[in-house]
Subunit: 413 residues, 2 copies
């Protein structure tokens, strides 16, 4: 497997576009369309917030047959907590796209991101759909990536290629997310969720692979759990998080089925792409000045490993210390202690970068200048060894800056 | 019952003092002693963080007989994650105080607050104990209140008086807490905890009541659950939180026993004092510019009510919106949705101040200027009606300011 250029239009048979339809005050692109020439096998994972945007609810219905052919997404408005009319607007978006593309409306998926509780300016969206569809282009991936951004400063896309037999198969993706990021998504549809429950983060994945829906779903869920569901920016889970995957089969490879080497390779490709996009979200996080990797080792079980990594990643005090370049590992220890995991303070070890700072319930004395230097870096690694079992997990996060507060105290007004 | 002047030295037979012993760079008071002329019945609730400061562990041992006569506390150092020597230092503090006061060392309770992971400067503390004891004074409550402060700007104390028969009984308290505040404390000792599990917040309570230890414990636990355990400043639970109560019986009232009118009155007095001190913590919270009261109504059960109130109170995005005077109630709805409680978005209602903004899954349109005015106030009330049951809870919190980040990114260095 290797990285190739592009995003959602890298796989065969996909076209995309992104335009400005009138939602964003900045007049940047705010409407995106991704379209496959052929109907696709499709799957999605969605936020587990109990307050769900209408697009989340409608997509779950539309994915009941595991089929889709297009994704329309707007930015600048989450269309969440907008009553019955919010649901009508989501359905109208799908219907309008379906009519212009001459496809089934059930095969159109919808995503929204932005302010919660404000009615969607549906007329602007509907009015722009003809232009959006006319502009569909096999090189339109970047425009599509731009159309879903909110407070993001950069577009996020990636594509990879691997071989199934002699056939080359491509997977491409675009994503957004810079705030309200603490995802815990789970599968929708016939099969129950395997794990999970918590951004607005959006990610749309396209592939020309021929793959069984069950293999597609399993690969998606596994990859999302190990990547997006481990990151946190502000600890606030969104009402609109989703990852959608569309597979159109145009690579004409031998069908990938569950529990085969090819299925594992496909899952690894998804995971590699998600991992890179998740890291891009953290790097582009609102106000962030640091990229922080928190690894937990020797946890009693997998849930504990994840819980500890994310609890530390979410701690306001740890994040402020990171912003201030203050190697105050006591705040890390406190966060480990208030997580829901099994913790024995006497067995816990903490490394800042490569420096062991906590062992046997007390500090390992290090020169302040050494620790300060580690915390002054832009990329910081923190390792927490629980000394209780054999499970590991990694969470990615950022620091908490005065700029984060500024961005989020002035976001809507 | 009525409010009287003073704090821990308001009840009969209590003396206190607070001095500078050399821990704080600011050279402010950092060592406090509260002492009762007579041995007391005593009880405590402690942090449920799995990483516990040595003072927490040692106090639980010392409270096994439900007796105490003095509390020594230092600020500027948490003596947590300081290995075996940390425990020795806590015991040395108790022992040294016991020797100078000529009381049993098991009857001395210890508290520490400040940086985690740094060895306690025990020589400075021990060296200062003679002066500390010499200065014990029936008017020393304010000095004692000052000696436990860290980032607090104001001392926090309160006292009340009520009657048992013809006898006047007094209760006094001092407290500290401005950051690392998300307490969930539970009782230590023979009786299992009734609820709870999560600041450094410290609170020392004195009373001259004659009260049965069981009634004292029940009143303490109940009052702490309803007050301190509902507040949050930054969502970080401390390793050192504790509330200690000492009852010396010098009021010579008819003994207060469990499940009587007098026990209920005593519990109400504790609750009133804790409620006021908890509010003082929020008002003095690091960087805070607003005092926010979040009330949840009609929850399916009591835990749900508390969970929703605290989840909203903890949300970084809600707190940034409060700082920015931005009535972005969508963030409130999202936080309700990701809480662990039962939530039906179609039944939920949200009021900002007295203004209903969410009903039937969508907004109730209000003039922007009206909502902006509510969010521009220094005191803000948010009410969330879940429409599912009959349980209520209130949580107090503050906004998240650029100053909070500044204080906590430069706290240690």
């Amino acid at each position: 497997m290797k990285i190739i250029r592009g995003g959602v239009t890298a796989p065969l048979g996909f076209k995309a576009n992104g335009i400005y339809c009138g939602i964003k005050k900045s007049k940047k692109r705010d409407l995106t369309l991704v379209y496959s020439e052929k109907p696709c096998d499709a799957a999605g994972v969605f936020t587990t917030n109990k307050v769900q945007a209408s697009c989340v609810v409608v997509n779950k219905e539309h994915l009941r047959d595991s089929k889709a052919q297009a994704v329309i997404a707007n930015s600048g408005n989450a269309n969440c907590m907008t009553g019955e009319s919010g649901f009508e607007n989501t359905r109208t978006m799908a219907q309008s796209v379906a009519r212009f593309l001459k496809i089934k409306k059930n095969n159109v998926l919808v995503a929204s991101t932005g302010v919660i509780g404000k009615p969607l300016p549906i007329k602007k969206i509907i009015g722009a759909i003809p232009e959006l569809v006319r502009g569909l282009n096999p090189k339109g991936g970047e425009y599509a990536a731009a159309g879903i951004l909110t407070t993001d400063r950069m577009i996020k896309e990636m594509a990879m290629e691997f071989k199934v037999g002699r056939r080359r198969v491509r997977v491409g993706a675009i994503a957004k997310g810079a705030g309200m990021i603490h995802p815990q998504m789970e599968l929708a549809g016939p099969k129950p969720a395997t794990a999970g429950r918590h951004a607005t983060m959006l990610c749309f994945v396209t592939t020309d692979a021929v793959i069984a829906p069950s293999a597609l779903r399993e690969a998606l869920d596994r990859a999302a759990q190990k990547t997006f569901n481990t990151i946190t920016i502000d600890g606030d889970m969104s009402t609109n998080d989703m990852v959608l995957v569309l597979a159109n089969g145009m690579a004409q490879n031998k069908r990938i089925v569950e529990k085969t080497k090819e299925a594992r390779t496909f899952a690894k490709v998804l995971e590699a792409i998600f991992s890179e996009l998740a890291k891009q979200m953290i790097k582009d996080a609102e106000g962030a000045t640091k990229f922080v990797e928190i690894t937990v080792r020797k946890a009693l079980n997998r849930d504990d490993a994840r819980t500890v990594a994310r609890t530390v990643a979410r701690s306001s005090l740890v994040k402020c210390a990171l912003f201030g370049c203050d190697p105050n590992w006591g705040r890390i220890a406190a966060a480990v202690g208030y997580s829901d995991a099994h913790v024995d303070p006497w067995r816990m070890q903490i490394h800042l970068g490569r420096e062991l700072v906590l062992r046997n319930g007390g500090r390992v004395k290090k020169k302040a200048v050494l620790l300060n230097r580690i915390f002054a870096q832009k990329k910081i690694k923190i390792t927490i060894d629980l000394g209780l079992g054999k499970y590991s997990a990694t969470s990615y996060t950022c620091d908490f800056s005065t700029n984060y507060v500024r961005i989020n105290s002035a976001y809507r007004t």
